[in-house]
Symmetry: C2
Subunit: 447 residues, 2 copies
């Protein structure tokens, strides 16, 4: 056990219960989770958790990863469940319930009071990868006719309900939202100033249907700690805070990286063997299938290969470098699409740039490959043909690497998942076809 965990362990087990409350106020729940989730440390977690007050258990539940919340809850005494569930942040509760099987789900929901039931059912109805699926429904409204002093007084009164309240929303008597007010603006304004005069009437918000990737771009652009989620009539449904965004960014980046590498978006180092197989085998089988198609091109040229065996050693070089070139382009394009950096404005110029770079790189690679293969095989014509095949395949690669992700995205198919297999199928097939085709065309000059 490292010092930090040991310290925490001792504090929580050895502090008398009546003093524990005060200590816990300044302990971050994430550190307690670190201790609980460290499987290398043996102790009775149920006894440990039973020492903690309900409010801290609620914070632990809010803080725990989506997929581990239920497990944590099951370690906590049944008698405390109701209180904890009622107090949990709505988005965290929805995440937990969303990860449960249907039976468990019904049981939990049935135990909630009517209002919470409605709210959770509504939250569960949103697509989890949209603003509605990420937002929490707890936010603070203040009336537009109040002064700063009054608002501060009000916040002290509702103290226990203030959490992640980086920004307050100013509403009129009919609950129409008029503006937003950050805590920073609040604490730097004079007590007698009216909320109306210091609020920001231009609220930056996101629609509840907005995809989480776009939400990240909005947060990044505006550097806000909190953004309201609105319905089609601009009514606030909930809020998203920066820490949700950090979570989404991590998730999205991991998904893109894994999918580009041919791994299922949700695989982790701790996935089971079965999940790992399920995550990877389909992709490998698809690749095997395209590899056989590419290989059939080779079969077609058996005669050429038996006459010029050297070409068998050259083929994989042409197709391999084509694959690398295509992957470079597809990686850049896929990432640019995800970041919203490729649009109709720079599509043409970035295509020209890709093409220019491919031509230059193609010439360099073709020269190197041609010269090397000339020295290896001592055959001038073959050297020339190798060079030509290389440069042409580089061009195929850049076309495939650029337009395959571009069009997949237009078709609303995630280019990170599917581009790779198409691009390398193209470069393999064309690579084999080019070098074998050219060789068979000029075979009399070679042998």
């Amino acid at each position: 056990m490292d010092d930090k965990k040991l310290n925490l362990y001792t504090q929580i087990f050895e502090t008398p219960l009546y003093e524990l409350e005060e200590i816990l106020e300044f302990i971050h729940p994430a550190d307690v989770l670190d201790l609980i989730n460290d499987e290398s440390i043996e102790f009775d977690r149920t006894v440990f958790l039973n020492r903690l007050p309900d409010w801290f258990l609620t914070e632990l539940m809010n803080e725990e990863e989506e997929e581990d919340k239920v497990e944590l809850l099951n370690q906590i005494a049944q008698s405390k469940h109701k209180t904890i569930i009622e107090e949990m942040a709505s988005d965290e509760l929805a995440d937990m319930i969303g990860a449960m099987d249907l039976d468990q789900r019904h049981e939990i929901i049935a135990n909630l009071d009517d209002e919470d039931q409605q709210e959770i059912t509504k939250l569960l109805g949103y697509d989890p990868s949209t603003a509605g699926g990420i937002m929490q429904t707890e936010f603070i409204n203040i009336y537009d006719n109040k002064t700063v002093g009054k608002v501060l007084k009000y916040l002290r009164e509702i103290k226990d309900d203030v959490e992640n309240a980086y920004t307050l929303f100013v509403v009129d008597r009919e609950n129409h939202v008029k503006g937003s007010l950050t805590l920073e603006a609040l604490v730097t304004s004079e007590l007698d100033e009216h909320v109306m005069d210091i609020m920001n009437p231009n609220i930056i918000s996101v629609n509840y249907k907005m995809d989480q990737e776009e939400i990240v771009l909005e947060f990044e652009k505006y550097n806000l700690a909190l953004m309201p989620v609105v319905d089609d009539d601009n009514k606030i449904l909930g809020v998203i805070t920066f820490d949700d965004v950090i979570e989404v960014m991590k998730e999205e980046a991991t998904e893109d990286i894994l999918q580009l590498g041919g791994v299922h978006a949700e695989e982790t180092v701790d996935s089971s063997v079965t999940d790992t197989i399920k995550s990877r085998l389909p992709w490998l089988v698809v690749n095997l299938f395209t590899a056989f198609i590419a290989s059939s091109v080779i079969t077609f040229f058996s005669d050429t290969i038996s006459q010029v065996v050297a070409v068998a050693a050259i083929m994989p070089i042409i197709s391999g470098i084509g694959g690398n070139t295509g992957t470079q382009t597809l990686t850049l394009i896929t990432r640019s699409i995800a970041l919203g950096e490729l649009d109709d404005k720079n599509l043409w110029s970035s295509w020209l740039k890709e093409l220019g770079a491919a031509i230059f790189n193609g010439i360099v690679l073709a020269s190197l490959t041609g010269v090397l293969s000339y020295f290896i095989n001592q055959n001038f014509t073959l050297g020339i043909l190798v060079g030509i095949a290389m440069i042409l395949n580089t061009l195929v690669a850049v076309v495939a690497g650029f337009f395959i992700p571009y069009f997949l995205n237009k078709l609303k198919i995630d280019p990170a998942i599917s581009s790779g297999v198409f691009v390398t199928a193209c470069t393999d097939i064309s690579g084999f076809l080019l070098i074998l085709g050219l060789t068979s065309l000029f075979i009399e000059r070679i042998i």
Copy 2:
């Protein structure tokens, strides 16, 4: 011009100057930057910028991307530069100066007052990818003997210096930091409460040398809007806010994705042709070199190929699927290393899981490949050998895909940059060697 931009354009050009100030308070600088940076809209940017007050220009400069700040500054009247530069957030100023060439750098620094000069020189001294290189030096200290009411009064007095102040730091008379106090805790506490009693004495901080990837993990763990950066004696040097972290996350994810795809970390769709070539050609040449090494294995078996031409069509399948299998493992391992999810505790279990999945997938792929190649070539022995080569190469792939990134990371080499070329070199060489070696061993049974 879209509606939003048109609206902004009209507002800024047509509002009388004395009213503009008030309007600007509620316009987000990011939206103004969108307008200025949209090259498809023609208007005199210098005239436009000249209408804006200094404080708003400063916000624009703070908001603009690192690499574009100088360009923006140059469009602003020279007479305003001094004020703007003095008012810019220290981290943004350091970023701007860091991106300049040495001559410009000296000119800017020479124009600063002594204190700012010292501060900037110090900031420029930190590695840009560490906490020191990201932090801003503006943060707010409050004394530990003050009450909440006094602190609120103080914040109103220093109003203009309060920016991104999500958390305040409580210090004693000797400026030793005693605790932290979020604005949320401040506004929900009674006015006569003492700061000492409501502050959090357990400050969560990062050392100034901490790498930005680790900082992201800390923010993610603790969900804080702001974290102090401390020196080795735990003295606060500056603060990092969530928006810096969002920026870093985007940068790090992009770097990893691009590098895994063989593209330089800093390439974008808008890079020049020259930069694109520089970003990609070296990687392609390294791959060409390893492709020739792998190809030399084939050359070694020319006799075998001329006797069993079918094997030429099979080799790329074995090596290709090996490459895919290795890439899957290396992608997962590289990402897990970046997320801090792979450590000595789960190294062994995740290796066993990789191995298990590779054996299973290998058997499935080997069976498919063996059977297909049996039907294509009508040769039973060749079918068996193809299957054996496939499964063995899958094992090579998982060993390479797992341990190459693992050991590169141990050697402090970023596995995202360099693993790919090694892994595919391994699977190519071993793929060719296995199928050609086996074929030549059993050639008498095949022909």
